[in-house]
Symmetry: C2
Subunit: 554 residues, 2 copies
């Protein structure tokens, strides 16, 4: 059976009949239909409401699968123009004699932080409306000469890549979720793609952004807006401003409707490679050396996976194309190990590399990387294993959903850590999780796996999987058990010097840990900033610094 | 006579007796001395007050030279700790039964936007105090392994470079003003250095920043602050926050007391080169091709100068070491032109190059640049000319002060322009200035010169000089004439698609043009953001978006 990744996600829901949801708030449908009269633009059915209110976090999905339902939006609307977005915000303010309703912008709903979930009725009793941004998904213009393009925020990563390819350019933004996640979601969460070393993070790509707030549109063009049709200026010294005030806003400051982003000619060369190291520590030391290379000499993607990650697919026992790619990776590892005596295959770690760019650039990168490989005694694992490994992380990301069928709960944790303490993080996380696992008397052993996914001058990014089997537990206690393990892991990360999130964001999941990381005066200032833009809290998602508890505990 | 650049600036003032200044506000000295009792930390003398209230803009300097004095601060204070800064802000709030006084942070006072000038008494009648940040100038720690260092904001660029060199590292931030300008000034103005292609702009270097506001300290550390002594994490997905909320704040949101910045090992190789082109247009096309190269292959600095810039030094007829460096550059141009028939030396344009980094990196950069040079038919001008040209811009920057003796008024204008319209800017500026010059019936001809100083993927930076001779005019009318020429030039830049400022900032000089470039809702939100941090406007400089007129005309 051919298993296409996004389909598996979409397949999930229809398997069971939709549960009943509380009736939507009274009069809401009329108000919304007055703004969006066209067929299908306002939906109140359970299917649409359940989808729009569910992200990709473990808790979101597990609750849905096991019918541990919390609050869902009353309606889902799909505007197609900026004017419609503004009209919806206006309607949200005036609804029910100014009581209003809340709006939560949603893109691909791939967040893993409960960012698109509705706050409970105790916290906010107004009706909630999800604003599905995928109706705004046009590439408005491409200026290939300057390397800039203006794009509506609801476009998915895959559609964006395809459209830009027709113009001979690429944005180079490739998060593992790119099939479903959207440009607006990337901006709102400060996303990071796999080819960051070459194309940068989302903040390096976005030159301009338009945001609709209850008070009107927010934009900034560095110069005479009239003189700058289909161009953009990525750097100016004109005080604080956009896009920085929007990157990371997690749906709480306004609705991002479009952005001007950098695009580049399609690369002359794309080459994959892989390298095998006898164990994680030696692989990690090698990664450290790669990070000492000048940024221009580093490959577009360079990721170290531990042995458990190589076994993960097997553990889930799913026959699919991606899995056979895994197998081929494992086989080439085996071949590699024939040359290597006295070292167990079970301890090995593998690096997958993507080189991308000019011929001359890629050649130099390969030459410099080769030097490091021989110095460190790594073994080349081949191009096909490298390509399989790169592609497979797109698939791994969705494998969690299969596990749920077997009551295997799993989630990823990511962090950035300074080089000087990075070696402490993974052992600390493993120890904390094992301790918690024993204390909770959970069945079997926790499955844990780690990869290093990004190299910065000052630190590296660790991306960890945590999975437990919850056979014999009620759905609710299974989730509670998982959440306490995850919390233990998160605290271990923070104590070992890692950050709260390198790219997933804060959402509702990690909001309680945010106050420790910034001064109360800053939190207060950011909340006041929102108050100024959105005094009646129309953008009602309450994520991160704008959640209810952000001022407590600091 | 050996002419050291910063000395010429310092020499300027004592030449004439200090003018009298209005008496400082009553009771101010006691209040300030209560916070800073040590000798010399509070100054009320005319010398200190004149210096602190004067930036490096033409208007600032000309007014001082010709005694067209406007308002100066009542006092200059020099705190040495963050606590003293906070105590001064507290004193500013409570002074005179809550009427308060205004505070303007000053670093090297090299801004060319009147940013450190006091607002007039009509706009703000409270006493004004300049906060000289150069008392906070320590390198607090250097973590060479991670490549990060924590540094107090008042350190000058030159001292910073020297201190870091002892640790074997560099920040790579080299604005032409680095002898005098400070880390805090760079952050507050969003400065850009000459080696940006390698080290980035200030926003690429700053990982953390501490800001003292009237309500208290603002900071953010991405993780457990206790676990992160002497480290820093440069990228996190934790909503909006620092340093973006401070970069470009131009002294209006709080006092930047320290920052954690990226530092790198000293480069293995530094090499200079120069290339000569028959005319500006051919040089500019070549620069465009360099910008098409992948970022990692571009030299650390690559600047194109027009012929007038090569003649500028001669026009000023000052004998000095820098001038003889110019001469040697011109001589090597002459040699180069011997090989070139039919093209006038007077039209030539020259590129100066700095290659910096790893041996392998620099070799590849040189190879790729060489290809472009031969394809475009450029002529190599040699390493010594390249080095002279690079160093000389540090000097040119200060040459303006000599011109003033001859009533030659001059100023630089900088902008970033998208590639697709960049060729329109310089002709448009020349035409606008000549028209204005004729209309005002000024003597002689305006002197104008241009260089292209930075290459981005989507556009280039133009740095232009404008000088006029004002013989026969009163000081006041001379300034007014110059300002109307400068305004004409600025409008021509904006109309041709350039931005208001690539790196000098807005200050008071360009504040009236800012509203056109951003939506009113954004301006209002940024002003509310300040209100939340500084409700009684203690940080009283009124620059840019926080000036009195920023909400008008939009
Ligand atoms: C399998 C998988 C792999 C992943 N891999 C990566 C990865 O490699 N890198 C990475 O950074 N992240 C990754 N993520 C996380 C997630 O994909 C990102 O956070 C992504 O940016 C979310 O985009 P989205 O369109 O799905 O947004 P959603 O999940 O729909 O929304 C996320 C947040 O953004 C807000 N938002 C969305 N659109 C708008 C808009 N137009 N205006 C205002 N606010 C808006 C929402 O209100 C919400 O707060 C992954 C997630 C999954 C499930
Ligand atoms: C000869 C010359 C060459 C130049 N070359 C360059 C160049 O190459 N690149 C470039 O970007 N700029 C250049 N400039 C402009 C200027 O040097 C920069 O704007 C510089 O960043 C100003 O730093 P400063 O320490 O002198 O700040 P100041 O001029 O003292 O102050 C500038 C602004 O920053 C604020 N400020 C200063 N310190 C603090 C602090 N600690 N906390 C809060 N606010 C603060 C002030 O209130 C003011 O608004 C040049 C200027 C001259 C005169």
């Amino acid at each position: 059976r051919k298993l296409s990744v996004p389909l598996t996600v979409r397949d999930l829901m229809p398997e069971r009949p939709m549960p009943d949801l509380p009736k939507p708030a009274e009069g809401l449908e009329e108000i919304l239909a007055a703004v969006l009269p066209q067929e299908g633009r306002v939906r109140m059915d359970a299917d649409a409401r359940l989808r729009a209110g569910t992200g990709h976090g473990l808790a979101d999905i597990w609750r849905l699968r096991t019918r541990l339902l919390e609050r869902f939006p009353d309606a889902v609307v799909r505007p197609e123009t900026e004017e419609e977005v503004q009209a919806l915000l206006n309607a949200a303010m005036s609804y029910n004699h100014g009581v209003g309703f809340g709006i939560i912008p949603v893109g691909g709903r791939t967040n893993v932080t409960s960012a698109t979930k509705c706050p409970s009725t105790e916290v906010d009793s107004r009706p909630m409306v999800s604003l599905d941004m995928r109706g705004l998904s046009k590439v408005l213009w491409v200026n290939a000469e300057d390397g800039v393009a203006m794009i509506e925020a609801g476009i998915t990563g895959m559609d964006l890549k395809k459209s830009l390819k027709k113009h001979g350019v690429t944005m180079g933004m490739e998060p593992d979720s790119m099939e479903l996640s959207t440009l607006g979601g990337w901006i709102a969460t400060r996303a990071s793609g796999m080819k960051r070393a070459r194309y940068g993070n989302i903040e390096d790509m976005v030159l301009e952004v338009r945001l609709i707030t209850p008070g009107g549109a927010i934009w900034q063009r560095h110069g005479d807006p009239k003189a700058q049709a289909e161009t953009a200026i990525g750097r100016a010294s004109t005080n604080i401003g956009l896009p920085a005030m929007v990157l990371g806003s997690e749906g709480c400051l306004g609705v991002i409707t479009s952005a001007v982003v950098r695009v580049r000619p399609l690369p002359q060369v794309v080459e994959y490679q892989s390298v095998v190291f006898p164990d994680w520590d030696r692989g990690a030391s090698w990664m450290r050396e790669v990070a000492r290379m000048p940024a221009g000499l580093r490959p577009a993607s360079c990721r170290l996976m531990d042995q458990n990650q190589l076994q993960l697919a097997q553990a889930l026992k799913q026959g699919s194309e991606e899995i056979s790619a895994w197998q081929s990776l494992r086989n080439s590892l085996k071949d590699a190990f024939l040359h290597w005596k006295g070292i167990s295959l079970e301890d090995a770690a593998a690096v997958t590399l993507v080189f991308e760019g000019h011929r001359a650039e890629v050649n130099l990168q390969k030459k410099e990387i080769s030097k490091l490989v021989s110095m460190a005694g790594g073994l080349w694992g081949g191009a096909s294993a490298g390509s399989a490994g790169y592609t497979l992380t797109f698939a791994i990301a969705y494998l969690r959903d299969f596990g749920l069928d077997y009551r295997i709960l799993s989630e990823s944790l990511e962090t950035m850590v300074p080089w000087s303490t990075i070696h402490e993080v993974w052992p600390a996380v493993k120890m904390a999780v094992q301790r918690e696992h024993r204390q909770l008397r959970l069945p079997g052993k926790p499955f844990m796996s780690c990869r290093m996914t990004q190299l910065y001058d000052e630190g590296g990014v660790l991306y960890m999987y945590l999975a437990i089997c919850t056979t014999g537990l009620e759905a609710q206690s299974a989730l509670a058990a998982f959440e306490s393990l995850e919390h233990a892991a998160r605290c271990a990360i923070l104590n070992a010097g890692g950050c709260l999130s390198h790219h997933h964001g804060v959402g509702k999941l990690r909001a309680s840990l945010l106050p420790e990381t910034q001064s109360l005066v800053l939190t207060q200032a950011l909340r006041n900033f929102k108050m100024a833009l959105d005094p009646s809290n129309v953008l009602a998602a309450r994520n991160g610094t704008w959640c209810t508890t952000a001022l407590e505990g600091s």
